[in-house]
C-alpha cells in the first residue's frame, strides 16, 4: 500500500483507520509518526479551549451600550421603580434641572438670609443654631450626631451643600489671591477648569451611576460651572452673552 495521504493522516487524528490502513500504519514508521503528530495537534487544540487572552470587552463601554439599549437599569426601560439611580447619558436634562434647582435653591436661600429668615424652609432649630454658629465663624455645634430619618439627613446634607456652594461663590467673588476679582479672564480660566472637572465627573458617573457621592460631586461641579457662567455673563458688556463655554 502507498503511504497515506496527508489529509487522511489528518483525519486519522480522531478517526479509526480501516484494517488496510491499520496494517500500513504498523509497518510504516513515517505514516505512524505523521499520525502521532496529528494526534498531538488535536490534543493541543483541545487544551486551547481553556486558553485565555487579553480581554476584548471593557465594562465601561459595554455598560454604556447596555444603558442605551435599555437593558440596564438607569435607562428608560428600567428606570421606573428604581429611583436610587441618577443616570447620565439618557437623562442629561435631569442633571441640568437638578443643577438649576440647586442654583435656584441657593438664590432663594440667599434671599431668605438677607431678610433675616432661615436659609432653608422647614429646617430644624438645630440647623438654625448651626447656621448661626457658622455665621459667628465657629463650627456648627448643633449638628446632630445621628439622624432620625433619611429626610432629616437629606435636609442637613442639602443645607451644608448649599452653604458650601455659597461660600465658594463668595470666595470666588472676593478672594482672588492677588488676581483681579471677578474679571472675565479669571472666570474663563475657572470655567475651563470646571469643564475638565465636569468631564471627569461624567466619566466617574459612568462607572458608578448610583454612587451618591459621585452624583453630588457631579452636581456640585455642574452647578459651579453654571454659576460661573452666570457670573461671567454679568461681568461681560450687556450686549455680550454666553450660553455655553
Amino acid at each position: 500500500m502507498s503511504h497515506l495521504s496527508f489529509e487522511r493522516l489528518a483525519a486519522l487524528a480522531d478517526e479509526q483507520p480501516t484494517s488496510e490502513e491499520n496494517t500500513h500504519l504498523t509497518q510504516c514508521a513515517d505514516c505512524a509518526r505523521e499520525r502521532e503528530a496529528h494526534r498531538s495537534l488535536l490534543t493541543m487544540a483541545g487544551t486551547e479551549r481553556d486558553a485565555l487572552g487579553l480581554p476584548l470587552t471593557r465594562w465601561d463601554s459595554l455598560s454604556a451600550r447596555l444603558r442605551e439599549e435599555g437593558l440596564m437599569a438607569g435607562s428608560g426601560k428600567h428606570e421606573a421603580g428604581r429611583g436610587s439611580r441618577l443616570p447620565l447619558g439618557a437623562s442629561h436634562w435631569m442633571l441640568q434641572v437638578a443643577a438649576a434647582l440647586l442654583l435656584v435653591a441657593g438664590g432663594v436661600a440667599l434671599g431668605r438670609k438677607s431678610t433675616g429668615a432661615t436659609v432653608l424652609p422647614g429646617i430644624t432649630d438645630g440647623a438654625r443654631a448651626g447656621q448661626s454658629a457658622n455665621v459667628r465663624g465657629g463650627a456648627p455645634d448643633s449638628l446632630p450626631t445621628t439622624f432620625a430619618s433619611l429626610d432629616e439627613a437629606t435636609r442637613w446634607k442639602n443645607f451644608y451643600s448649599e452653604g458650601y456652594q455659597r461660600a465658594l461663590a463668595f470666595l470666588a467673588q472676593n478672594d482672588s489671591a492677588g488676581q483681579p476679582a471677578g474679571t472675565p479672564a479669571v472666570m474663563k480660566t475657572r470655567l475651563a477648569a470646571l469643564d475638565k472637572v465636569t468631564k471627569m465627573m461624567q466619566e466617574a458617573l459612568s462607572d458608578a451611576p448610583s454612587d451618591p457621592v459621585i452624583n453630588d460631586f457631579y452636581l456640585n461641579s455642574f452647578g459651579q460651572r453654571e454659576a460661573t457662567l452666570r457670573q461671567l455673563n454679568n461681568a461681560l458688556p450687556q450686549n455680550v452673552r454666553l450660553n455655553s463655554f
Binding site: F6, A37, M44, A51, W59, L62, S75
Partner: protein, 191 residues
C-alpha cells in the same frame, strides 16, 4: 453568597451589579471564543465581543437554566461571531476559500519559532478553515453542527477540517513532530 441563578434573575431586572458580575465571570471565555474565530483582527474581535454581550443580556430572559450559563453564553458567542463574520463577508466563500488557501503551504522555518500556539498558527488559515478547525477541534462541535451554522455540508466541513489540520501540522511542525524524511514520498505530498 448569592448563586448564579439569583445573579441572573437580578441581571434580567437590569441590575448593574448583577450584570457586571456575570460579565466578569464569563467574559474571559466569551472573549477567547470570539478571538479564536475572528483571528488576528483585534478591533473586529472587540466589536463582535461587545455585540455578543449585548445579545447575551438581550436573550437573558429566555435563558431557562437547562445548561450552565457559561455553556449557554458560549453558544451565543459562537453563533453571534459567525453571523458577524458572515456579515463582513469573511465566511462568504467558505468552500473556495479553503480550497485556495490550504492546498499548499510554503515552509517558513524562520517564522515557525514565532508561531508558538495554535491560535497564532490558525490566523494563517482562511477565515472559513479557521472557523471549521476552531469549532471542531477546539470547541468540540460536530460536523453536523458546524455544517448547520456555516451553511455547508458535513462532508464539506470534514474536508476543510482535514486540510486545515494539514496546514496547521506544517505550521506547528516544531511543536508536534520529528522531521519528515525527505526520501519518503506520500501519495498526496503537501510540502
Amino acid at each position: 453568597m448569592e448563586n448564579e441563578k439569583q445573579t441572573i434573575q437580578r441581571a434580567i431586572q437590569g441590575d448593574e451589579a448583577a450584570m457586571r458580575s456575570l460579565w466578569s465571570r464569563h467574559a474571559p471565555h466569551v472573549d477567547a471564543v470570539v478571538r479564536r474565530l475572528v483571528g488576528n483582527d483585534l478591533d473586529l474581535a472587540a466589536d463582535i465581543a461587545q455585540e455578543v454581550w449585548i445579545q447575551i443580556f438581550r436573550a437573558l430572559p429566555q435563558y431557562r437554566g437547562d445548561s450552565q450559563f457559561g455553556t449557554w453564553a458560549h453558544r451565543i458567542a459562537v453563533n453571534r461571531t459567525l453571523n458577524a463574520l458572515r456579515k463582513t463577508r469573511r465566511l462568504a466563500k467558505i468552500e473556495t476559500d479553503v480550497e485556495e488557501d490550504t492546498a499548499m503551504v510554503e515552509p517558513e522555518p524562520e517564522r515557525a519559532l514565532v508561531m508558538e500556539t495554535i491560535q497564532n498558527a490558525a490566523t494563517k488559515l482562511s477565515p472559513g478553515a479557521r472557523a471549521v478547525f476552531m469549532l471542531h477541534d477546539v470547541e468540540g462541535y460536530t460536523h453536523e453542527e458546524i455544517a448547520e451554522r456555516l451553511g455547508i455540508t458535513s462532508g464539506g466541513s470534514k474536508s476543510q477540517l482535514f486540510k486545515a489540520r494539514a496546514k496547521l501540522r506544517t505550521l506547528l511542525a516544531h511543536l508536534v513532530d520529528t522531521p519528515l524524511r525527505k526520501d519518503v514520498k506520500h501519495v498526496a505530498p503537501v510540502f
